[in-house]
Structures are given as structure tokens and as C-alpha cells.
């Protein structure tokens, strides 16, 4: 394992020297803390409390980002919306990566006819109109998800407004995850094919280890680098997809809100009050920026050969 640790140390060293990536890392941690820990603080107001005598207020000491057309605190709305956007981005990516890694690993390790068949199937799915299928899929799983919400409420007795914000996102996780695994499957397959020819795999085979054990314990840990890189780069794409679906009225639904929904509402009213567009957009764009730069930085750090400069 001596070599393994030094690889990671090397990578960390390279990453630490990449200023854009480090700044991105801090920005991301800051936004994550703000969105998930922030709302627990007493000074953060309710994102849904309507106050019709204080609509469209300018930013002040009381309302940091001002208020929207219903007098709701924009700062709180941005934080809660961020929770939903980040959750969708992370969980849907996790689903996609999970499916893709297993599929790609099996195809790459099995090789031959099985590999041909599995990858031909991926080629076919790859050529399908992605957004169209996500929309259809989201509509199909919409009903089971609301039944599931009711079931959870009946079983656990939690209040609907505590359960629904999370369970109504399930269709999105499934729809995006079910169709987003194709690229990662291709990447993992190529990596596994390269790694399985190395001597340590032969050694594992001659020791008589079982095939699943060789694949999951010995080969996969060696392809974790590309998986991390791809995951970082996939999250912004999926967050963008969530915003598009929400914009079309097929994603996150009110009273739940996400950055996508806040941006859409802000864009509708940008001539009246441009701050409604500005604040959610800044958060959304910074997160996507940071994820992209961090992904690029990780690629350069973990895979120095591919570094472009």
C-alpha cells in the first residue's frame, strides 16, 4: 500500500498548488455550510412566512437580501432553495454514479461477448434524446412517489411539510439517475479494462480469489480517481438539468423551492426588482463555477498526463 498513499499525497500536493481549485473548494464548503447549517441559526427567518406589508424590500440589516413580491425573506429562500438544488445534484449524481460504476465495471471485467452486448446497449441509450426521456420518466414516477409520501406520513406520523419536501424529489433522483449513468459506465469500463491486465490482478487470480472480490476489492479501488473526477464534473450538469426541469414545471414543485425556481421567478420580475434574480443566480453560478474548476483541478491532480498546461 506504500505506493497507494504516495499517489494520493502527490495528487493532494498538485491540487494544493492549483489556486482556482483551492478557492473553489473553499467556496463550495462555504456554500454547503451556509445552506445546510445556516437555516438552523436563529437569525435566519422562515422562507415561507408571507408579509404583505413588506413586499419587494431592499436589502437591509433585517432582511439581508431584501424580500420578494410576497414579503418573504430572500436570504432564507436562497438558503432553503440551495438545500434542494444541492440535494438533487448530489443524490441524483450518486444514483447515476452507483449504477454506472457497477455496470461499467462488470462490462470491463467480463470482456468479450458480455462486454459487447452491454456496451452496445449503452451506445443505443446514448443516442436517445436525454431531456425528453427524463421528462417522461419524471411523470411516470410522480404518482408512486406521492403514494410513498402518504405512506411515510401514515406510518411515521411526521407532519406533511417535513416529509414532502424530500419525498417529492424522489422522481427527480430516479429520473435523472436512471438516465445519467451512461458516461460514467463508459469511463469505468475503459479504466477497468486497463487495470485488469496488470500483474497484481493476475496475482489475485492465482491466489484463487473470487471474481466479484477481485473486481470490487482489487480493481475498483484503482479506478477511483476517474470516478471522483467525473462525479465532480457531473454534479453541475445535473444541477443545471434540475433547474431546467423546474423551469418547465416538471421538477421541484411549490411550495418547495430550488435555486432553479428562484431564478425563474427572479427572471420573470427582473425589471421590477433585479435583486430577486441576482442573489439566487450568484449562488447558483458560483456553485457551478466552483464544481467545474474543482473537477478540472482534480483531473489535473489525479491524472497528470491529461493536464493541458
Amino acid at each position: 500500500m506504500e505506493k497507494g498513499t504516495s499517489l494520493w499525497k502527490d495528487a493532494w500536493h498538485r491540487l494544493a498548488h492549483n489556486r482556482a481549485a483551492i478557492v473553489s473548494l473553499f467556496v463550495l464548503v462555504f456554500i454547503l455550510l451556509l445552506c445546510f447549517i445556516g437555516p438552523l441559526m436563529p437569525f435566519v427567518k422562515s422562507p415561507t412566512a408571507i408579509n404583505l406589508s413588506n413586499t419587494g424590500a431592499a436589502p437591509s440589516a433585517d432582511f439581508w437580501f431584501g424580500t420578494d413580491q410576497l414579503g418573504r425573506d430572500l436570504f432564507a429562500r436562497v438558503l432553503y432553495g440551495g438545500q434542494v438544488s444541492l440535494l438533487v445534484g448530489l443524490v441524483a449524481t450518486a444514483v447515476a454514479v452507483f449504477i454506472g460504476v457497477i455496470y461499467g465495471a462488470i462490462a470491463g471485467y467480463a470482456g468479450g461477448k458480455i462486454d459487447d452486448l452491454l456496451m452496445r446497449f449503452v451506445d443505443i441509450l446514448f443516442a436517445l434524446p436525454f431531456l425528453v426521456l427524463v421528462i417522461l420518466f419524471a411523470l411516470v414516477v410522480d404518482n408512486p412517489a406521492s403514494l410513498f409520501t402518504d405512506w411515510i406520513i401514515a406510518k411515521t406520523g411526521f407532519a406533511r411539510d417535513r416529509v414532502a419536501p424530500i419525498t417529492t424529489l424522489i422522481p427527480l433522483f430516479i429520473a435523472i439517475g436512471a438516465i445519467g449513468w451512461l458516461t460514467i459506465a463508459r469511463i469505468v469500463r475503459a479504466q477497468v479494462m486497463a487495470v485488469k491486465k496488470q500483474e497484481f490482478v493476475e496475482a489475485a487470480v492465482s491466489l484463487g480469489l473470487s471474481r466479484p472480490r477481485i473486481l470490487f476489492r482489487h480493481i475498483l479501488p484503482n479506478v477511483i480517481g476517474p470516478i471522483i473526477i467525473y462525479t465532480t464534473l457531473a454534479v453541475p450538469g445535473i444541477m443545471l438539468l434540475e433547474s431546467v426541469l423546474s423551469f418547465l414545471g416538471l421538477g421541484v414543485k411549490p411550495p418547495n423551492s430550488s435555486w432553479g425556481i428562484l431564478i425563474k421567478e427572479g427572471a420573470d420580475r427582473m425589471e421590477v426588482n433585479w435583486l430577486l434574480l441576482f442573489f439566487p443566480s450568484i449562488f447558483f453560478a458560483s456553485t457551478l463555477f466552483a464544481l467545474n474548476f474543482l473537477g478540472d483541478g482534480l483531473r489535473d491532480a489525479l491524472d497528470p498526463k491529461s493536464a493541458k498546461d
Binding site: I124, F130, L131, V244, K264, L277, L288, F289, N292
Partner: protein, 306 residues
């Protein structure tokens, strides 16, 4: 070469078949039916309506009937809620609009994205490079439904212009095409930069430099052809992305294209219209990918052998 083409066409046909099947069953698995309206329809009328469209039959029967109509009669079926309107008529009416928007925006994307990417690569690690990359990153990170209204306001038209926008005068085309074009230009610029950097570090470019060829000539004559391969490969998928991007653009700018029809059909459960539109999209994408593959083979002699 010909074998490759035949192979790709065969794969395209299989792709379309999978798409038709998948869509058929996804659409049938959606909750709700095309007949849920505000006014309850009397049971016997509903039965007659279902008999007319064949939706009263078991699923396999419906499926094979749909395939038969599709392959033998090239018939995509009727729009359920509009008497006597065929799905093909809707497509024929709205496709030219989407296509016009698509061609315009791909044109803009190519004209902006490729030069920006090449310039960034040639001037690597300079202010020019930084500006191009940052602009591209903004294009990638901002949703199209923000870029559209922002452009409208910056162009001095105001948001009102979006609401009254139509598709009658050429002026209505420009803003949506620029919006869609700039988003794709961002991706193209990144790919063109990456591809050019790869090529510019190759030995044959050094040889060209060593023999004293002028820098512009090296870029245009020697590097461009190989460096643009990743960007060209992206145009096929970009076409697909453009279609999906056009969902949003068509909604913002109120453009009577296919995207709007698809979103409405999906929420109204217009079974045959959804299936027809998805199949048509798939057909376009498969065609675009095929063309992109051929273009790649033309640009890269090494691909011709395999």
C-alpha cells in the same frame, strides 16, 4: 469505409426501435389518461372514443398496431383531443420553426465558439485565454432561462419584448437564436481549445515551426484540421442539446416550435403526439450523430481504417 456507414445506419435503426418501444411503455405507464377533462365524459361516449383510437385494447395489441401503422403506413396516429388532426401535421407545422432556430443558433455557435477556442489555445495562459475561458464558463453555468431575459434587457428591448414575441418577423428570430447559440458556443470553445492544445504540442507542429512556417499558417494549415475533431464530434450531441435547450428557449420567447408541443403533450397525456414527437427527435439525433461521425472520419484519416 462503406462498412462503417452501414454499421452505423444499422445501429441507428435499432436505436430508433428501442426509442419507440421505450416511449410507448413510458407513456402508457404515466398516471392519468388523455381523456381526463374538467367535465366528466359519459361512460359510453368514453368507450366509443377509446374504441376509435384503439386505446381500449390490451397493451400488446396497441403496441403492435402502433408499430404496424408506423412501418407499413408511415402513420404516427392522431392527436386525441383535436378531431381529425394528425400528429404528422403538427410536426410538419412546427418543425420548420424549430429547425430554423436550430440552424441559426448552430451557425452562431460555430462562428463564435470555434474562433474563441482556437484563439484561447494559441494565446494559452494570457489574458485573452482567461477572458475566453471565463466567458465560456459563464455560458455553461448560467441556465438558458437567465441568459435569454438578460440578453433581452441588455439589447434594450425590455422584458415586454419576450411576452409579445412571436415568429412572424425576422426580428423575432434573432434573440432566441443568439441565446441558444451562445450557450452552445461556450461548449464548443472549450472543446476547440482542448483539441487545439493537444495538437499544438505534437511533434509535427514543432517540425512546421522548425522549418520556419509563419505562426498563422501553422494554425490554419496544420493544426486546425486535427484540433477541431473534438468540437466537430460535439456538434452531433449539440444538436440534441439544442433541441432540449429549445424547450426552454421556446417557452421563454413564446416560439411555436416542437418544444412547446412536447411539453404540453406530456402534461396533457397526448399519447400519440408524445410518441410521434419523441420518435422524430430521435430520428433527428440519430441522423445528426451519423453526420458527425462521417465528418470526424473525413477529418481524421486514422479512423478510416478501423
Amino acid at each position: 469505409m462503406i462498412r462503417i456507414i452501414i454499421n452505423r445506419i444499422g445501429q441507428g435503426i435499432i436505436t430508433l426501435f428501442v426509442l419507440v418501444t421505450l416511449t410507448f411503455f413510458l407513456v402508457r405507464a404515466m398516471p392519468g389518461s388523455p381523456y381526463t377533462e374538467e367535465k366528466a365524459i359519459p361512460a359510453h361516449t368514453l368507450q366509443r372514443m377509446k374504441e376509435y383510437t384503439g386505446l381500449d385494447q390490451p397493451l400488446p395489441v396497441q403496441y403492435f398496431r402502433y408499430l404496424k401503422n408506423l412501418i407499413v403506413h408511415q402513420d404516427l396516429g392522431d392527436v386525441i383531443k383535436k378531431d381529425g388532426v394528425k400528429v404528422s401535421e403538427i410536426i410538419a407545422e412546427s418543425f420548420p420553426v424549430s429547425f430554423g432556430l436550430g440552424v441559426l443558433s448552430i451557425g452562431i455557435a460555430l462562428m463564435v465558439g470555434i474562433p474563441a477556442g482556437v484563439l484561447a489555445a494559441v494565446r494559452k495562459n494570457t489574458a485573452t485565454d482567461f477572458i475566453c475561458l471565463s466567458a465560456a464558463m459563464i455560458g455553461i453555468c448560467l441556465p438558458s432561462f437567465v441568459i435569454g431575459p438578460l440578453l433581452a434587457v441588455f439589447a434594450g428591448l425590455g422584458l415586454d419584448s419576450l411576452n409579445v414575441a412571436g415568429w412572424s418577423s425576422p426580428g423575432d428570430w434573432i434573440l432566441p437564436a443568439i441565446t441558444l447559440g451562445l450557450i452552445n458556443a461556450a461548449y464548443l470553445a472549450r472543446l476547440a481549445r482542448g483539441g487545439m492544445l493537444d495538437v499544438l504540442s505534437q511533434d509535427y507542429i514543432r517540425t512546421a515551426r522548425a522549418k520556419g512556417a509563419p505562426p498563422t499558417r501553422i494554425v490554419i494549415r496544420h493544426a486546425l484540421r486535427g484540433g477541431l475533431i473534438p468540437a466537430v464530434a460535439f456538434i452531433g450531441p449539440a444538436f440534441a442539446g439544442m433541441i432540449s435547450g429549445s424547450f426552454v428557449i421556446e417557452t421563454i420567447f413564446q416560439i411555436p416550435g416542437m418544444g412547446q408541443h412536447f411539453v404540453n403533450a406530456a402534461t396533457d397525456r397526448e399519447f400519440f403526439l408524445i410518441q410521434g414527437l419523441v420518435l422524430f427527435y430521435g430520428f433527428l439525433i440519430v441522423g445528426a450523430n451519423l453526420l458527425a461521425d462521417l465528418a470526424q472520419i473525413a477529418l481524421n484519416p486514422r479512423l478510416r481504417k478501423s
